[in-house]
């Protein structure tokens, strides 16, 4: 099996001008993946399925990822010359930039015929609000159908060209996408005997008079309860 770089180079040779970039995995697994642009993604997928050296005939898994908007602070060291003539001072400059959020879909492809894999494809949406469409790969691998529906249900990614794009786990009237990072779940907390962590915060808002639940008596040291106190 070729490495992800080799696959990318071959795909670029076959599809000149297509947006294909390598997303490296710095972990020990080093499962690098290919980020495809939306315009030619289905063409490339079709090629990966049919090409005799790839023959990636099975899509084993489709996953969604939510990348919320993220503020990144970069620190750069700048040397400022001393006007008095002394040695130049090194000052840290912080620049903030906002990394725009997006939704991502990950496909894991294997070849049953040639017994290799996985080749990992990624597709990204423009943002998390109104440009949430990516091309569906269900016409290429039929196995994607239910999993793309699940990503649509839980993340809100719209798959263009999907034959039957409906919610699959939640009911059709449901409006939210529960796997997104900013999902707010319904406020239906009820009493629990030993709340801690996030549940303790809920307990404080619902039963303020008994926030004493959070008050560990003298001698007791519950790290969760003490940690949750501001």
């Amino acid at each position: 099996m070729e490495t992800a770089e080799q696959i990318r180079d071959r795909l670029l040779a076959r599809f000149p001008g297509a947006e294909i970039s390598l997303v490296t995995n710095p972990g020990a697994a080093a499962q690098h993946s290919l980020l495809l642009g939306a315009t030619r993604a289905r063409e490339i997928a079709q090629f990966l399925r049919d090409d005799p050296t790839f023959k990636l005939d099975q899509c084993s898994n489709v996953t969604g990822i939510d990348w919320p908007e993220k503020e990144i602070v970069e620190t750069t060291k700048v040397s400022v010359p001393d006007p008095a003539g002394g040695p130049a001072k090194v000052v840290e400059q912080k620049t903030k930039r906002v990394q725009p959020g997006c939704l991502e879909v990950v496909y894991h492809l294997y070849s049953i015929a040639l017994r290799h894999g996985p080749v990992i494809l990624r597709l990204r949406t423009g943002n998390r609000t109104d440009q949430v469409t990516v091309p569906s790969l269900t016409p290429v691998w039929r196995a994607c159908e239910f999993q793309e529906r699940e990503v649509f249900d839980l993340y809100g990614v719209v798959f263009d060209g999907h034959p039957d794009l409906r919610r699959i786990l939640m009911w059709p009237e449901f409006k939210d996408h529960p796997m997104r990072k900013d999902y707010v779940e319904p406020d239906d907390y009820e009493w629990e005997p030993t709340p801690h962590g996030v549940v303790l915060e809920k307990a404080k808002t619902h039963y303020p008079s008994v926030a004493g639940v959070a008050d560990p008596g003298p001698g007791s040291s519950n790290p969760a309860t003490t940690e949750a106190k501001p």
Binding site: W171, P172, K175, P178, Y183, D188, E190, W191, V198, Y207
Partner: protein, 223 residues
């Protein structure tokens, strides 16, 4: 309802003209004396027909309880009915997702009185390990009055049989009239339970206030 906390002799209504001791004495002399109430509750308690209905892994234990090794037929409950119209007992065996909850309530409404409900396993009682999830109902008792709670994850078949025996004790303690009568013999209790709707964020309503209220916290004197 004397809630069957104490087994036989079952507490009689104070108006009963004859005590249990006297009845046992008569029985020893070959005279069987009974009341309509006793006959009725005896019949009810020994032919509890469960609904053939399972939701998750607890249902596997329920099936095991109905098979030869544990043999629920010993307690008169072997007739698992495939139709709610013919069933007396709803064993909520497993996780009730919010998508499934209206269907469970609908099944309950379709069962004729007298009917009983067993919440089997941690999920049916409180949501269990999925309690903090967005998609799991935090206990079927938010919509249906539950008679017997069987804790466990999942409970073993013996626990289900124990729950069934406890239910039978409870049925044997029912009064046919008066304020302790079960709900289907009383005019002041509604026997219809509204089916929740699928809302935009949650079930609407998220609980039936006639059946379930958020638990109040009772604190002991210390602290």
């Amino acid at each position: 309802m004397s809630d069957a906390a104490s087994p036989a002799p079952v507490e009689r209504a104070p108006t009963s003209p004859i005590t249990d001791v006297e009845r046992d004495e008569l029985r020893r002399h070959g005279i069987l004396l009974t009341s309509l109430q006793e006959l009725y509750t005896w019949g009810c308690s020994n032919s509890v027909w469960p609904l053939n209905f399972g939701l998750a892994c607890c249902a596997i234990e329920m099936i095991a309880a109905s098979m030869a090794k544990f043999d629920i037929a010993r307690f008169g409950s072997e007739v698992f009915r495939p139709s709610p119209r013919q069933a007396d007992l709803l064993i909520v065996s497993g996780t009730v997702t919010k998508k499934m909850a209206p269907q469970v309530v609908r099944l309950w409404n379709q069962m004729p009185e007298p009917k009983y409900c067993i919440a089997m396993g941690a999920c049916a009682i409180s949501g269990g390990p999925f309690k903090q999830g967005y998609n799991v109902l935090k206990g079927i008792d938010r919509f249906i009055p539950v008679d017997i709670y069987i804790p466990g994850c999942p409970p073993r078949p013996e626990a289900l049989l124990h729950g069934l025996v406890e239910l039978q004790k409870k049925i044997k303690g029912f009064q046919l009239s008066g304020p302790d009568a079960p709900r289907h013999l009383r005019a002041d209790i509604k026997c219809d339970y509204p089916v929740p709707d699928f809302g935009e964020h949650d079930l609407q309503p998220p609980a039936n206030p006639d059946v379930w209220q958020a638990p109040a916290i009772v604190r002991s004197g210390k602290g």
